[in-house]
């Protein structure tokens, strides 16, 4: 899941790939919350599911167009900080 989400943060993903990823993430979230052996595992997908449910337009804008409606992401400063946190090279 991390792999998929990190790819999204780069922005500019083709729409077809994005749709496929969304379906995959949905399946994965279902499987994790239903079958995890541990309570922590069952709750791991919750933030992702919550974001996709309530902030879908913002996610779409980020991933497809590489734009941040709130003007926070994709600035140099944000990219540097974000890169450090999730382990991607800026």
């Amino acid at each position: 899941m991390t792999d998929l989400l990190v790819r999204w943060t780069h922005g500019g993903l083709p729409e077809k790939q994005y749709r496929a990823d969304l379906a995959l993430i949905d399946e994965l979230c279902q499987a994790m919350s239903l079958t995890s052996i541990c309570g922590l595992g069952q709750i791991v997908p919750a933030p992702v599911q919550s974001v996709l449910k309530h902030f879908r337009e913002e996610v779409d804008a980020h991933v497809l167009k590489g734009k941040c409606p709130s003007g926070i992401c994709f600035t140099a400063a944000a990219r540097a900080g974000e890169a450090q946190r999730v382990g991607i090279r800026p």
Binding site: D3, L24, Q30, A31, L34, T35, I37
Partner: protein, 723 residues
């Protein structure tokens, strides 16, 4: 009194809308399997404790999340759904995740085509996993001579770890690392070849994927003869009896199992022969019989002396019946049936396994098996039999055969149980439990609470008691014997330790059933109580003597173990050999006494059965013909097949095999008889038909005596401390 109440409580659940009843405590996984709805799994093996880590066996029980069925016991009213879209989707995603990291095809898939993960993934229609492949390899470990390790193919199901720890108790395998680098490790993550691993192969047999596979080093093969047909692992996996067996194991052992065809009249195995294989009948019928003539080495008494011919004969059984043999008895053999004493013939059919004792414990074959129709059978070596026995459904089938065919004979063969009513035996058929023990394993320990009664089915059990300064062997029990009644009838505490000497299988009757039996059949109770009291008194007496006799060189000569010694006082003996002649006269020209042996002070301990307390000779007799009844002497029953094992086992050379010429049915040409030489084991029978042993009676100088060594030597040894 109802016996139903004592059966395990039944629980009613619904599986995919179908109501089923299973015993309380059963896992949902087993409940579904037994009712024809197998649930896929990767981490659960029938012979290991379930852990529920692969999550593939999840089912919907109506809870917030899905439940791993292998670790979930059934609950009354539970509604289980094993195949809804929700469940199937979750399983598919899990398989896809596993497949993303799986080096497909893995070593096992390549070699024997039975990687469990790849099989399941293919069934779920997963070809190209959408998840990213693992970027960091966990590597391979090629350091072991016998087993190849591919850490990348490992799915962390822990089956190998449980096999190593729970089954083999080697405790070599464990887990290491976290996250992506988590994997199995030998010792403290040493290369397998450098670890304390003994290459037993259990991990490889347990592994569902190609993470642990065999490196074929040496080929075993029993596929000899024109009618033998060897197998490829793939072919074997198709057969129902090998369901769930690891393909990599079968590939390693493909020479250890062959399919043989026998024509009508062909001999499959012969009694007395040594072997190392077991047979499993697939098609056809076979006749199992004892061809050793049912006859005694005839004893005529010492009176006729001079004019008796010196050759001895075997008296036909019906002309010379020993008084104590008149009751019905069965002869235990190495198959799922017992043979009746009067007519030792039985039939085996498809699904019967025989030769198990020969295969597991390397005892001689106990009976002759001849094909009656065209017979197709598997012949297998021990490792294959072992792995088949781990398969629960195969075990259940074998157990069922035993319950159906031999249990009743087995129970009725014990004289005390002759009065059991048919309905109670039917009840026992359902409720007894068959248990297996490995060599050295303790079945019941002295001092433990007694809650079951055991009948020995296969192998030998040592009954021993702990006394200050050591262990005292009270008896060796073999098929047809029983133990555990003293603890149950007495204070509910085990009075002795029962240990498996070899691969032992026992029938366990629960304490409840046993008490029920006691209540319903007072005659059984009486009989058992008498025997239990006798056994207890004997044991008590032994303990007393053990405490009172000084143990020095006496022990070193093994005299301690004897119950009755033939001693010759050398100060009186003139070496006239009258004792030996008398013995020969009493036993049709065959002496069972040799006037030589070890010396103890002025006494010569002659070579003649000592009736040991610890009768090693009894261990291993494939037909249970050498045994002790409820008396002192060790008796060789007349169904002895002459294999000679007891003679080799006797440390003192007191058992000898004598050849007798007899006419028997020619197995190769039915209907005709031929003269053969049959061996029978003989040993001193204490001339039970006479007042005292002939040798003692015949000694003109009062030099020969049959004595209890402990009382006889105690004054000499320790200044009269014996009581």
């Amino acid at each position: 009194m109802s016996t139903i109440s004592r059966l395990p409580e039944l629980v009613e659940i619904t599986i995919d809308g179908r109501p089923v009843q299973v015993a309380a405590g059963t896992s949902v996984f087993d409940a579904a399997r037994m009712n024809g709805t197998p649930i896929p799994t990767l981490c659960h093996l029938q012979n290991e404790m379930p852990v529920g880590v692969c999550r593939l066996c999840v089912v919907d029980t109506g809870a917030r999340v899905l439940t791993a069925s292998c670790v979930r016991p059934v609950e009354p009213g539970m509604k289980v759904v094993t195949n809804s879209e929700k469940v199937l989707n979750a399983r598919k995603t899990l398989l896809e995740l596993l497949m993303a990291d799986h080096p497909s095809p893995c070593a096992r898939q390549e070699k024997s085509g039975d990687c469990e993960l790849e099989t399941l993934a293919r069934a779920a229609g997963i070809t190209q996993p959408r998840f990213a492949k693992r970027t960091v390899s966990r590597g391979i470990d090629d350091s072991s001579l016998a087993i190849a390790v591919d850490h990348d193919a490992c799915i962390l199901c822990d089956r190998c770890i449980r096999g190593c720890d729970e089954i083999k108790n080697n405790f070599v395998l464990g887990r290491m690392g976290k996250g992506y680098s988590a994997g199995i490790a030998f010792d403290l993550n040493a290369p397998m070849g450098d670890s304390t691993c003994i290459s037993c192969g259990e991990c490889m047999v347990s592994c569902p994927t190609g993470a642990l596979t065999n490196k074929t080093l040496v080929g075993t093969s029993i596929a000899t003869g024109p009618d033998a047909q060897g197998f490829e692992a793939e072919e074997l996996l198709q057969l129902p009896v090998f369901k769930g067996v690891s393909g990599t194991f079968l590939e390693l052992n493909r020479g250890a199992i062959v399919k043989r065809r026998f024509h009508p009249g062909e001999i499959i195995c012969r009694e007395g022969e040594f072997g190392s294989t077991a047979f499993y009948i697939l098609e056809g019928k076979a006749r199992v019989s004892l061809s050793a003539p049912m006859a005694h080495v005839k004893t005529q008494g010492g009176a006729k002396g001079l004019f008796k011919k010196l050759t001895s004969t075997l008296a036909a059984r019906d002309t010379d019946i020993r008084a104590e043999e008149t009751r019905d008895r069965t002869i235990p053999i190495d198959a799922s049936v017992d043979l009746a004493y009067g007519n030792p013939v039985a039939e085996l059919g498809p699904g019967d396994l025989f030769g198990e004792m020969t295969c597991m414990n390397f005892y001689p074959r106990s009976a002759t098996v001849i094909a009656e129709t065209d017979v197709v059978a598997f012949e297998m070596l021990r490792n294959v039999l072992d792995i088949m026995m781990k398969n629960k459904s195969f075990r259940a089938q074998i157990d069922q055969n035993y319950r159906r065919r031999a249990l009743e004979n087995h129970l009725r063969g014990v004289p005390m149980f002759a009065d059991l009513s048919p309905d109670f035996i039917e009840h026992l058929k359902e409720s007894v439990e068959l248990q297996r023990f490995a060599p050295g394993q303790v079945i019941a320990r002295q001092g433990d609470a007694a809650n079951s009664f055991y009948l020995v089915r296969i192998g030998f059990v040592k009954i021993s008691e702990i006394y200050p300064g050591g262990e005292l062997v009270l008896a060796y029990l073999s098929r047809g014997d029983y133990f555990g009644e003293i603890g149950l009838l007495g204070g509910g505490v085990r009075t002795a330790t029962c240990t498996a000497l070899d691969h032992v299988e026992v029938v366990r009757i629960s304490g409840d059933d046993f008490r029920d039996m006691m209540d319903r059949f007072p005659s059984v109770r009486q009989g058992l109580e008498v025997v239990a009291a006798e056994r207890a008194a004997q044991n008590q007496q032994r303990m007393q003597t053990v405490r009172s006799v000084p143990i020095d060189q006496f022990l070193s000569q093994g005299l301690m173990e004897a119950q009755s010694l033939l001693i010759l006082d050398l100060q009186n003996c003139t070496r006239c050999d009258a004792c030996v002649n008398a013995c020969a006269d009493a036993h049709d020209g065959i002496t069972r006494l040799v006037r030589e042996g070890l010396r103890f002070e002025q006494y010569l301990v002659a070579t003649s059965c000592r009736q040991c307390r610890d009768p090693l000779c009894m261990v291993g007799c494939p037909v249970g013909s050498i045994r002790r009844r409820n008396s002192l002497e060790v008796i060789i029953e007349d169904w002895c097949i002459g294999c000679g094992l007891c003679a080799r086992n006797c440390p003192y050379g007191n058992i000898n095999l004598h050849p007798f010429e007899v006419m028997v049915e020619d197995l190769e040409r039915p209907g005709r008889k031929k003269a053969v030489v049959k061996q029978k084991a003989t040993s001193c029978d204490l001339c039970t038909h006479l007042k005292e042993p002939s040798c003692v009676y015949a000694c003109p100088h009062d030099a020969a005596h049959r004595v209890d060594p402990r009382t006889f030597f105690s004054e000499m040894l320790g200044g009269g401390t014996a009581k």
